[in-house]
């Protein structure tokens, strides 16, 4: 190359960019306001006198935190006032075209939750176990988090994964049978991975190779897996429960030292290997997607497959690989039901967790870490119900059962800001 030719830089420009105006959205304020008002009305109409008892430690911790006893109504009203202040601040900020910081929203949510718990547990002779609340939340969120990771992997490559529910269920079913036959939860979990991969392979075959509408294939796969496992369950597992549907479960493995930290010790560091693996999986999926060649190509295929093709990336193979990995992860999540949670398979035992996982994917903006956090939130909402029934809460349990779904709808409705899916998601890649 000879000397550089002097190519002028971009022509002098009067003003470089399109003007932007800030658009104010009242969504956050509105939701905060409605929830706060409803909460206030609840306190007014159904006051609960008495004290609320929160238990914070377990036996065996390094030190014992005494049970916290608070006057229920006073606590509830203080929480109401704080939430009202945050709501007012949000309204004021929105008026002046600014946005409420995320930590303030989180504060309002936590405060409302504490206030509600204080109200619900008022006068109960039993302690409300915070460890039970959080620990149960972690457990309930395990299949959701695995499912969400599977969803992120699949959708980042441009394939909509409605079939998470089916993958979880297939994983649970297979783990139950194989775990029972071999008497090993490890072999059972491995079989669940294969079952998830199998469902993923069918999804891939129809969506990637045959360009069938991805949503339809996903829905059909769910129905297929539900039907198949229910049929086999009644024909095969029920008559031979002892041989085929009684697994050995994973035992908890406490991490020495850490498990004895109050509150978080038992919640995080005295779990089964499936739970530890979940934390590892979140980190690995994140690293793989955003720091490796495989991830760059997978994301490229999900955003602009033609561009990927023109630089020599095999779109079909890349998508298959992502879909199969996604199936493996979701399948492992399904194993949780039968080799961690309880030791046998039950008809449709996933009960919609796959769809909640799908919501976590969207709530988490297709980012594995955020999606996992969303999964934890949904798990927490599910667990609230069982904890409150233990302390004898006055709220009908049916209402509490709705909570995770209400949280899901609010979350997906855009409470977290705009969520942008991979551009080529749902679009089959057809070569010219």
């Amino acid at each position: 190359m000879s000397a550089t030719i002097d190519v002028p830089s971009a022509a002098p420009q009067a003003s470089a960019e399109v003007r932007h105006v800030t658009q104010v959205t009242w969504k956050t304020t509105l939701v905060l306001g409605v929830v706060t008002v409803l909460y206030g009305v609840l306190l007014l109409l159904a006051p609960h006198e008495g004290d609320s008892r929160f238990a914070l430690s377990n036996a065996g911790d390094f030190f014992t935190i005494p049970v916290v006893v608070v006057p229920a109504m006073a606590t509830a009203w203080v929480c109401f006032v704080i939430a009202a202040i945050v709501t007012t601040a949000s309204a004021w900020l929105t008026r002046s075209a600014r946005r409420l910081p995320a930590w303030a929203v989180a504060l309002a949510a936590v405060v409302l939750l504490v206030g509600f718990l204080a109200w619900a547990a008022a006068g109960s002779p039993r302690d409300l176990s915070v460890v039970g609340l959080l620990g149960g939340a972690v457990l309930l969120s395990v299949p959701i988090v695995y499912g969400a990771l599977g969803g992120v992997l699949c959708e980042r490559a441009g394939v909509v994964n409605i079939a998470i529910e089916g993958q979880l269920l297939a994983g649970a079913f297979t783990a139950a049978i194989v775990g029972s036959i071999t008497d090993s939860p490890y072999v059972g979990a491995f079989a669940a991975v294969l079952a998830g991969v199998l469902v993923g392979a069918v999804l891939g075959l129809f969506t990637i190779t045959y360009h069938v509408n991805q949503v339809i294939v996903g829905v059909v796969l769910n129905v297929l897996v539900i039907g198949l496992t229910s049929f086999l369950y009644s024909q095969l597992l029920v008559p031979q429960t002892e041989a085929l549907n009684a697994t050995t479960r994973f035992t908890r493995i406490g991490i020495p030292f850490l498990e004895r930290i109050p509150v978080i010790g038992p919640v995080l560091f005295d779990q089964t290997i499936i739970v530890y693996l979940m934390v590892v999986a979140v980190a690995v999926v994140w690293f793989a997607l955003f720091r490796t060649r495989w991830g760059l190509r997978t994301r490229a295929v999900g955003e602009h497959p033609l561009a990927a093709d023109t630089v020599g990336i095999d779109v079909v193979r890349t998508r298959y690989r992502a879909v199969l990995w996604a199936g493996a992860v979701a399948g492992l999540g399904g194993a949780f039901y039968t080799v961690v949670s309880i030791n046998q398979f039950g008809k449709e035992m996933t009960a919609g967790a796959g769809f909640i996982a799908l919501a976590a994917v969207i709530f988490g903006k297709w980012n594995p870490v955020r999606a996992a956090l969303a999964g934890l939130l949904f798990g927490f909402a599910s667990n609230l119900q069982s904890v409150l029934s233990v302390v004898g809460s006055p709220v009908p349990s049916q209402f509490m059962l709705m909570v995770p779904y209400v949280v899901t709808i609010l979350a997906v409705a855009g409470l977290v800001g705009r969520s942008r899916p991979p551009a080529a998601e749902g679009v089959p890649y057809v070569k010219g």
Partner: protein, 521 residues
């Protein structure tokens, strides 16, 4: 791997490209019919032809995106067998695509490295190496591209440079530019020509695909003209526009639009402070005011994507977040539904005819009555009046010279030019008080362009105010009585059609007409 061959600056392998008898069919359509082409290293070989002549198909065959039905590709006399773009790239062919092949949410460095990523350890991306590569190539050509910028945040001119960097980073010896100037301002086009010359002087073989005669004559060393899938001849860059055009179209072509001085009517369209805000708060049309009298053509010029589309959509009520006022003969249009805007007498030719202008699966007859489906004469008591409809369709097909086997032909099967004539026939057959036409001749063959221009001028001569959006400077100058240039949603200036091209070009880059005249002088 080629990547190990070292810096392309040293020891450049000068490569000769030869295509022999390339044939590509899509069903019954022969897109490429035994095409022969030789491109020597160190030359810019232009492939000139109309839209749909088969230029892009040929290049997609060369690039491995399509498989040829017959013929072979030779590099330095060696027959190649490309099964995908990866093979073509490995052999040294780089392509700057008409629609950029960039992932918008990736950074420049990520886009450049995609497909041949440098890695350290087990597949972990080495982004630093990619950044260095971008900086090195960028510096060599004076590109000023930031490797960490997100591609979607970059102006199109810079995005195109990223495409060029992408090709160069793989040491391409043969570079194909597919309609590269469609999205550029005239100044950016000049810069691109400079880059192409530099690459040529460096020994690269360059294929320049275009339908713009001016550019061909300016930069090409050799010209091959493609018509209906065949190479119909070679031309020298010294040929005149008229010679090139007639070779391209296959007959003598009228390049100028004949129109008399405008006869202005009293009232017309008055637009004041029109502002359109898009989702996310971007102000797409920013405080635009202008007026068009009856009997006048105002051409809205500018590089694609500077708010022209949104402006036309706002005029007919297709945009949601609109403030300001649009008055037609004193009647306010902002806030009305599209239906009532059309009823006032507005004809609208949308920018994307296949998407917004026509229902491809409907017949010509059905498409021609789409806007009058709510009453007589075509609908009575909820029932379609087929006889009236077909009678109307036959008249319009004849009047607008729509080349079709029958009025029952599905519109999607027509060529771009004939589709556009159907849109025009429908819109012009109402009693018009305003015509808004967005890019009416884009992707249309030269014969149809002449026809469409004539109809637009006839509408103007009937005393109707006409607003035409065009991104082609030649068309703007030919058709306009006045030209309004838009840049980043704002009006740069409204000037007479006699304004020199270089002034208009500078205005399209956002420079006010006063400064532009100073600069151009």
């Amino acid at each position: 791997m080629r990547d190990q061959r070292g810096d392309p600056a040293e020891g450049k392998a000068h490569m000769r490209l030869e295509l022999r008898g390339i044939t590509k069919r899509f069903g019954a359509l022969v897109a490429n019919d035994h095409i022969d082409l030789v491109v020597e290293p160190g030359e810019i070989h232009s492939l000139l032809g109309e839209n749909g002549a088969g230029k892009s198909t040929l290049m997609n065959v060369l690039y491995g995106l399509y498989e040829a039905d017959e013929g072979e590709i030779l590099l330095d006399g060696v027959v190649q067998n490309f099964s995908g773009p990866g093979d073509a790239m490995a052999a040294g062919i780089g392509m700057v695509h008409q629609h950029f092949m960039l992932v918008p949410v990736f950074t420049v460095a990520e886009n450049v490295m995609l497909g041949h990523e440098q890695v350290k350890g087990a597949g972990v991306l080495d982004l630093d190496a990619a950044r260095a590569r971008v900086r090195e190539i960028s510096a060599r050509f004076g590109f000023h591209v930031d490797p960490d910028a997100l591609v979607e945040d970059l102006p199109v001119g810079v995005q195109q440079r990223v495409e060029i960097i992408k090709a160069l980073s793989r040491n391409a010896d043969i570079l194909v530019f597919d309609e590269p100037t469609a999205v550029l301002t005239p100044q950016e086009t000049d810069e691109l020509m400079g880059i192409m010359r530099q690459l040529r002087d460096d020994g690269a073989a360059i294929v320049f695909i275009t339908h713009k005669l001016r550019e061909v004559r300016e930069v090409a060393d050799r010209i091959s003209v493609v018509r209906l899938g065949k190479v119909v001849g070679e031309a020298s860059p010294t040929a005149t526009d008229a010679e090139l055009a007639s070779l391209m179209v296959g007959r003598a072509v009228e390049l100028t639009v004949h129109k008399g001085a405008p006869v202005l009517a009293g009232s017309g369209l008055d637009v004041e402070h029109l502002t359109v805000t898009g989702p996310g708060g971007a102000v797409l049309v920013d405080d635009v005011s202008f007026s068009v009298k009856g009997g006048e053509v105002l051409v809205v010029a500018g590089v694609q994507g500077n708010g022209q589309t949104e402006l036309t959509e706002a005029l007919v009520g297709l945009q949601e977040s609109v403030t300001g006022s649009v008055r037609l003969e004193g009647v306010e249009l902002v806030g009305r539904s599209v239906r009532s805007v059309l009823d006032v007498g507005v004809g609208f030719v949308p920018e994307d005819r296949t998407h917004d202008g026509l229902v491809g699966e409907f017949t010509i007859a059905e498409n021609l009555m789409l806007d009058r489906s709510d009453g007589p004469p075509f609908v009575r008591r909820g029932a379609l009046q087929l006889a009236e409809r077909d009678q109307f369709a036959r008249e319009k097909v004849a009047e607008f010279d729509v080349r079709t086997p029958s009025i029952e032909t599905r519109v999607g099967r027509l060529s771009g030019g004939n589709q556009q004539k159907v849109v025009l026939a429908r819109e012009l057959s109402r009693d018009l008080r305003l015509l808004v036409a967005a890019q009416p001749t884009r992707g249309v063959d030269v014969g149809s362009i002449e026809f469409i221009h004539k109809r637009v001028v006839a509408t103007r001569d009937a005393g109707v105010p006409v607003v035409v959006v065009s991104t082609e400077l030649d068309e703007a100058v030919a058709l306009a009585d006045r030209i309004m240039v838009m840049y980043r949603g704002r009006v740069v200036g409204i000037v007479p059609a006699t304004t020199p091209r270089d002034v208009l070009g500078l205005m399209m880059a956002g420079i006010s007409p006063e400064d532009a005249e100073g600069d151009a002088a």
